[in-house]
């Protein structure tokens, strides 16, 4: 311990500094424009097959879309997101107009005469391949196929459109660059491997961000085992104004998803991380051996500085955590929620939201019981989101035939401050009993209605307790249950 460049009060200033620093930047209104396709950024590409491919775009390179062709990246860089492009003349792209679904009208044709007969198509596979080799545009191939289809006119307009769509999925060379947003990034990971993001559906994630009141100028504590999906959402909503402290599994964090958002440096800087080990004060951080930088060789200095920055970052982040006063806790973790609450609740301010996500409700039930008993939580509640998409074709509106079966569960509550100096009486039932069954019969979670008869009783006994604040309904229910069984 030869040198200690920062004293403690300076460290504790850090959070304030970050918030104030970002305030100064408020003037720079025009942030990096996320609506343009830029060099050196991640984009998603929707293929004619409906699949989505993720690409890190680099200028002056060719981007391969497999069987759908290859295009030159400069053709789309600098253009706005939104349009679809068709590949032509190998590597060239041109914007194509989106075909609107409402152009499909209802007709008198029906599918009575339609038989699934491959002989109806006069073009053979070999002929089609030849057309592709000739560099014919996808739209033209499809046109030729329609011409080659002997029974095409017998189809309804609707099935004609369906036929063309099916052929487009195979032969079209149209792709759509998609800008990474929380929604599109989620969509990509959810369709690819939902387990990696703990099966969290976007509506559930959206509710987490609302219920946790994530916005600029907040200091959020997040336990994220969703590859950084939740962290990504929080970072975006902070917009670089505030802090998100991520507690991660393992020694190094694995917030892989964060990078696909192409966040600015300012937003990246709002992310701080600690491992579970680093959370605990008992786990002493190995001291850093400060050296005289002028004596080091250039190569050693680079290495030394990297180690120094890393050491100081962890040291300062730990100070920020222990200083507490976080504006909310979000948990989407494989670890037991109760143990996480035990560990992290001391760092959360009063009247701030606590949100715990899990795909298995049972895990949350136990955590909910824990919350109800602990008295530190107001209104612990388990909710489940339900999302249904509809097909919206003219005259054919109905819910999708198949849908996601569940988007996970949320347990949420508000952190309560029990001020010891206030004459808050300790209810007698709290003194001996701590099972939920006992609590169910009385007031444990802010059922504030007064049962008149019970009140009179307790006044008679001249007891100062909360027993008179009993939810009459629950009491009655418990009573009824007993009567029924006896």
């Amino acid at each position: 311990m030869n040198k200690h460049p920062k004293n403690m009060s300076a460290v504790s200033q850090i959070t304030e500094d970050i918030i104030i620093k970002s305030e100064e930047n408020q003037e720079e209104r025009e942030e990096q424009d996320t609506s343009l396709i830029l060099d050196n950024q991640y984009i998603f590409i929707q293929l004619p097959s409906g699949n989505i491919k993720v690409v890190k775009l680099q200028k002056d390179t060719n981007v391969s879309l497999g069987k759908f062709g290859t295009f030159h990246s400069n053709g789309i860089i600098g253009r706005p997101f939104g349009h679809s492009y068709e590949i032509y003349d190998n590597y060239q792209v041109k914007v194509i107009k989106n075909v609107a679904f409402y152009e499909v009208d209802e007709t008198d044709a029906n599918n009575k005469e339609i038989l699934d007969d491959p002989s109806k198509q006069k073009l053979s596979y070999q002929e089609i391949e030849k057309l592709k080799k000739q560099g014919l545009e996808g739209q033209d191939i499809i046109k030729k196929m329609v011409e080659g289809h002997s029974a095409f006119d017998q189809k309804t307009e609707y099935s004609k459109a369906k036929y063309i769509k099916r052929k487009e999925a195979k032969f079209s060379r149209v792709f759509t660059p998609i800008n990474p947003t929380l929604y599109s990034v989620w969509e990509y990971f959810f369709s690819k491997n939902p387990g990696k993001i703990r099966d969290m559906r976007i509506d559930t994630l959206s509710q987490i961000l609302s219920l946790a009141n994530v916005r600029a100028y907040t200091k959020m504590l997040v336990v994220d085992d969703t590859q950084g999906l939740v962290i990504t959402g929080v970072m975006e909503r902070l917009g670089g104004y505030g802090i998100v402290l991520g507690i991660h599994d393992g020694e190094n964090h694995n917030y892989d998803i964060v990078r696909y958002m192409n966040f600015s440096k300012k937003i990246h800087d709002s992310l701080l991380t600690l491992s579970w080990q680093q959370v605990f004060k008992e786990e002493i951080q190995a001291p850093f051996n400060y050296q005289d930088e002028s004596t080091l060789s250039e190569k050693d200095l680079k290495y030394y500085l990297r180690r120094k920055v890393n050491y100081e970052r962890i040291r300062d982040t730990r100070e920020i955590l222990w200083r507490g006063e976080f504006d909310g806790l979000i948990v989407a973790s494989q670890y037991q929620p109760e143990s996480i609450l035990e560990t992290l609740m001391p760092y959360v301010s009063g009247s701030r939201p606590i949100i715990i996500y899990h795909i298995n409700k049972e895990v949350l039930i136990n955590a909910c019981v824990y919350m109800k008993i602990s008295k530190k939580f107001l209104n612990p509640q388990i909710t489940e989101s339900w999302l249904r998409q509809y097909q919206v074709l003219p005259g054919r509106i109905h819910p999708s035939m198949s849908t996601s079966g569940g988007g996970g569960y949320l347990l949420h509550a508000t952190h309560i401050v029990i001020n010891e100096s206030l004459p808050t009486p300790i209810p007698s039932y709290m003194k001996q009993k701590d099972t939920l069954e006992e609590l169910n019969k009385s007031d444990f979670c802010n059922n504030n209605s007064i049962d008149e008869t019970v009140k009179i009783e307790s006044l008679d006994q001249n007891v100062t307790s909360e027993n008179h604040l009993v939810n009459s309904e629950e009491l009655q229910e418990a009573e009824n249950k007993r009567i029924k069984l006896e």
Partner: protein, 315 residues
Amino acid sequence: MSFLRYKTIIEEGDLVIAHLSRENMTPLIVDSRKTYNNKFGTFKHKDMIGKEYGTKMPSHNGRGFMYLLHPTPELWTHVVPHRTQILYVADISYIITYIDLKPGSVVLESGTGSGSFSHSLARTIAPNGHLYTFEFHEERAKAVKKEFEEHGLSDLITVECRDVCKDGFGITNIVHAVFLDLPAPWEAISAAKEAFKQNRIGKICCFSPCIEQVQRTCASLNENGFVEIKMYECLIREHDVKTIPVYTVADAVNKIKVQQDKKRKRKDQNEQDDDNSSKSKQDPPNLYVTKTPNETKGHTSYLTFATFLPVLDDE
């Protein structure tokens, strides 16, 4: 500034959401001369001053208590004076994500209604975004305008009293996203198209309770060149946690036996009591379970989304 910044300690003039129960919450502006009376007792405002937000505060006469909560847009939806039908958290959350709002976004809302959704929008686009909100009912527009001022949101929100279906929005080439909660959203879609920032992608959401409205909205979105027209419904279901005793068949048999014993005792009252009847009285094991409410929200509105395409140079 309480909606845009958290405070730790309650001071004079602050907004506090007094939470008495889940169904009973009231917004209070702390004024040390005032007293708040309710069926749980007398609460003096001056007792709140200096307390931390989130404190459980007993009443002055010891009858009950209340929680002093920090205002959030979510709590505000519970306490907002219900001037119109309001949006709920499931819809609010999904819309904000889907139309890609974040700090710095510029968004258009119509109608403003009770201003409940405006609070959520303003929260998300702060500190450097902007919300243009339009309400054609003059009294309502005035009331929300005052409310936004009280809540420190007036720098972020521009309220205008305007019949947008007839007169349009009066803004062009500005916004990134549009939210229409109107009886006939299709009448405002072509005006909304002009409001979008023309050289970038944008998102629109139309909020309508009836499927017929959705149908007309989709047709209008399509005619106006919007793409990716998609429609969703999003609801939240609660799961209440409680314990239930798990009785076995043996308990059922026992219960009958106890009843029979009682009858027998009544018959031969002279006979001596033996302890047989009560010997097997044991509490059954408890099981933690959840139950969905008997009645819950079954429908709020359909959410119709679409994408505004950037205008090409040759268009």
